[in-house]
């Protein structure tokens, strides 16, 4: 089976994630969409690695997971503190600063 299809899949996932970021209000969900995008990237890496027949891509994938995990830690901390302050996780409520 042609590995390129995995690339298409990756692109699709990436787009879905991006779209989610654009349309979803809940900060958590938005954040999950970002994670989805990262995973799409991982898929792409692995696929390319498979295509090129070297392991760099797979190694990168591991790094990405670590980074994503770190991001979760930080992100959740921030989002939670925001939620505790405002009792809402909607990114649209957080619009004090504008113009």
């Amino acid at each position: 089976m042609n590995p390129v299809n995995y690339l298409y899949l990756a692109a699709l996932l990436f787009t879905i994630g991006a779209t989610g970021v654009l349309i979803r209000r809940n900060a958590i969900v938005v954040f999950m969409c970002v994670e989805l995008m990262l995973n799409a990237c991982n898929l792409a890496f692995v696929t390319f690695s498979r295509m090129h027949g070297n392991l760099d891509g797979q190694i990168i994938a591991f790094f990405t997971m670590v980074v994503a995990a770190a991001e979760v830690v930080v992100g959740l901390a921030i989002i939670v503190s925001l939620f505790r302050t405002r009792h809402s996780a909607s990114v649209d409520d957080a619009s004090l600063m504008k113009l």
Partner: protein, 631 residues
């Protein structure tokens, strides 16, 4: 000897400096210092005159080079003086009459607390006027030219607290400036044509130059002359200039400054001779002005204004003569000198009358003054006879010569000009007789002024009468002195050149005609004013009379066209500067601000819309990159 030339100017200049910077501590003696220095300059003039008489007729021109004034490559203006017969004539006239009038002013201005300043101005005037006539190039002449303008401005407006005086002064300066424009353009033309504007080289090169250029130069010079000598169309300022103290009117606005225009034309004779069209224009201007002035003079009840009109018309004669070229130059100058005497005398007389009548100027409030101020009456009377050209007196010789020359121009032009001159003579006789009768004859018509002061006419002090007497002598004898044996002619000929004019009819006829019209004019005046009482309040008068009272509506024209128009123009320009010029800039700023305000809205505080812009941006970025490769 020629080193005296500079002193000639230096003396009054020093006087002006001392008197104007000296401050109050000089108030006591200021007037005498001024008079002294004026006299001193006259003495220098006399010495130089004696020296000049010693020389042969055509070696009399002397020059004195002081220093290089404006040296710029190709443009060399020097401070050099040139004393020849022409300028000598003026030097004597200016310093002579000037000194007399200084003396006169000592008495006349006695009660003015700013007398020191007055003498300072007078001295300044003398210096400037002398510079004007002694300059050896047009640019230096220009300095004197504007210098006398300044002095005249200061003296007309001497009583600045009177708005009318201040306005008159400003008007005089502005009108003169228009003339000065002509002079400066003329100088520029000379520079581009001859590469210089010194008298000698210019006159030398005239021959090798196109007539068109010369005509242009001549016309520009004429414009200047019109301004300074109150010739139509720039005559409007002279009447108002009478706001100044009477000695000023006598010296500046009768004897000397106003004749500078004539000097300029005669001095530039070489240019005019080569530009006949320009000469024609000069004669026309002269003729028109001499009638204009005369007519205005007839209608005025203000004695000084009447005399001002007369001055205008007399200078018209001179300009006319000067326009006639070599046949007229000498007579123009001759009339200028004689006129200097009798018109100054007349003005001083008028001043003396006003002095005795609480500065009343309306002739309708005079009458029968001959009993009260005999000296004034006699001197004024002699001046009167001189100006109307009574046989044997100065005016007779000089004016008669001009009329002859006018006829001698030949052709229809000759007839027209001659006719105009004759008519002018008649009108002159008319209005002067009118002045004479209304002032000194008939029953007394003066009443108490608004303060209830009944004027007590009395003769003026010596310091005033002596100059009048001296000038009276001049008005009586100068003409004869000049004419017998054509002394004046031979004196000036080397400078101005001369050619005998040949009237179509014999000179005797012209002279006869002149006498006839003179009698007619005087007679009419006698009938109108001598035989029946003069109304204290001026009658409405004919349309012409009313127009003449308003200087033939010339001022109204200026007011409507220039003043009103100018005000509108400036006001609209100020508005435009605010709205348009500034508006464009402020508009740009405002529009940028507006754009900013609109772009600001994009920053709506919603993270997701920020994400959208990022996403869009990324899309555009990618698209652009691909596009770049595609093309």
């Amino acid at each position: 000897m020629e080193n005296l030339i500079a002193l000639l100017i230096a003396a009054p200049l020093l006087g002006a400096a001392v008197l104007l910077c000296g401050g109050r501590r000089l108030d006591a003696v200021g007037h005498w210092i001024g008079t002294l220095l004026a006299g001193l300059s006259f003495v220098f003039g006399a010495l130089l005159f004696a020296d000049m008489l010693g020389k042969a007729a055509d070696h009399r021109t002397v020059t004195q080079h002081l220093f290089s004034w404006i040296p710029v490559s190709g443009f060399q203006a020097d401070v050099t003086f040139r004393l020849d017969q022409l300028s000598m004539t003026f030097v004597l006239l200016i310093t002579g009459v000037g000194s007399l009038i200084h003396l006169y002013s000592v008495g006349y201005m006695e009660h003015d607390e700013r007398r020191r300043r007055f003498f300072g101005y007078l001295n300044l005037f003398l210096a400037a006027m002398l510079l004007l006539v002694l300059a050896d190039n047009y640019l230096l002449l220009y300095v004197g030219w504007e210098g006398v303008g300044l002095a005249s401005y200061l003296l007309i407006g001497f009583w600045q607290h009177k708005p009318s005086a201040a306005t008159a002064a400003k008007k005089a300066f502005l009108v003169n400036r228009v003339g000065d424009m002509g002079l400066s353009i003329a100088i520029m033309l000379m520079f581009t044509t001859f590469g210089t504007f010194a008298f000698g080289p210019v006159f030398a090169d005239v021959s090798g130059t196109g007539e068109g250029k010369l005509t242009a130069i001549a016309l520009m010079l004429l414009l200047a002359a019109c301004g300074k000598s109150a010739q139509v169309p720039l005559q409007s300022w002279l009447g108002d200039a009478m706001e100044g103290p009477t000695p000023v009117s006598a010296l500046i606005h009768a004897a000397t400054m106003v004749t500078a225009g004539v000097y300029l034309i005669v001095r530039s004779g070489a240019v005019f001779n080569a530009a006949p069209d320009a000469q024609l224009v000069v004669t026309v201007v002269g003729a028109v002005t001499l009638l204009f002035g005369a007519i205005v003079g007839c209608a005025k009840d203000d004695i000084k204004k009447a005399l001002a009109g007369s001055t205008m018309s007399q200078i018209g004669y001179m300009v006319l003569a000067a326009g006639l070229g070599p046949i007229g130059y000498v007579f123009a100058i001759m009339h200028l000198v004689t006129h200097g005497f009798f018109k100054a005398g007349l003005f001083l007389g008028a001043g003396s009358v006003m002095h005795g009548m609480n500065d009343e100027v309306d002739m309708r409030k005079y009458g029968g003054l001959r009993k009260y101020m005999p000296v004034t009456f006699v001197t004024f009377g002699l001046g009167y006879l001189a100006i109307i050209g009574f046989p044997g007196l100065s005016g007779f010789f000089s004016k008669d010569k001009i009329i002859e020359a006018a006829f001698a121009k030949g052709g229809t032009e000759g007839w027209i000009l001659g006719g105009a001159a004759l008519l002018g003579a008649a009108i002159t006789a008319y209005y002067m007789t009118r002045v004479m009768i209304m002032t000194f004859f008939g029953e007394k018509r003066w009443q108490p002024d608004e303060h209830g002061h009944e004027p007590h006419p009395h003769e003026s002090p010596k310091s005033m009468t002596i100059p009048m007497i001296v000038l009276a002598f001049g008005s009586v004898f100068a003409g004869g002195l000049f004419s017998f044996g054509d002394r004046f002619l031979h004196w000036l000929e080397p400078v101005t050149g001369h050619q005998e004019g040949h009237p179509p009819v014999s000179a005797a006829v012209v002279t006869g005609a002149t006498l006839v019209v003179l009698l007619v004019g005087a007679g009419i005046a006698y009938v109108q004013y001598g035989r029946r009482p003069v109304p204290v309040v001026a009658p409405r008068g004919s349309l012409l009379t009313r127009a003449a009272r308003r200087d033939l509506l010339q001022d109204d024209f200026n007011h409507v066209v220039l003043v009103r128009g100018g005000e509108h123009l400036t006001r609209s320009l100020v508005y435009m500067d605010h709205t348009v010029v500034d508006g464009v800039v402020n508009g740009t700023a405002a529009s940028v601000g507006g754009l900013s305000g609109r772009l600001r809205r994009l920053q709506n505080g919603y993270a997701r819309s920020y994400a959208v812009s990022m996403f869009g941006g990324a899309a555009v970025l990618v698209a652009l990159t691909l596009l770049m490769r595609a093309v």
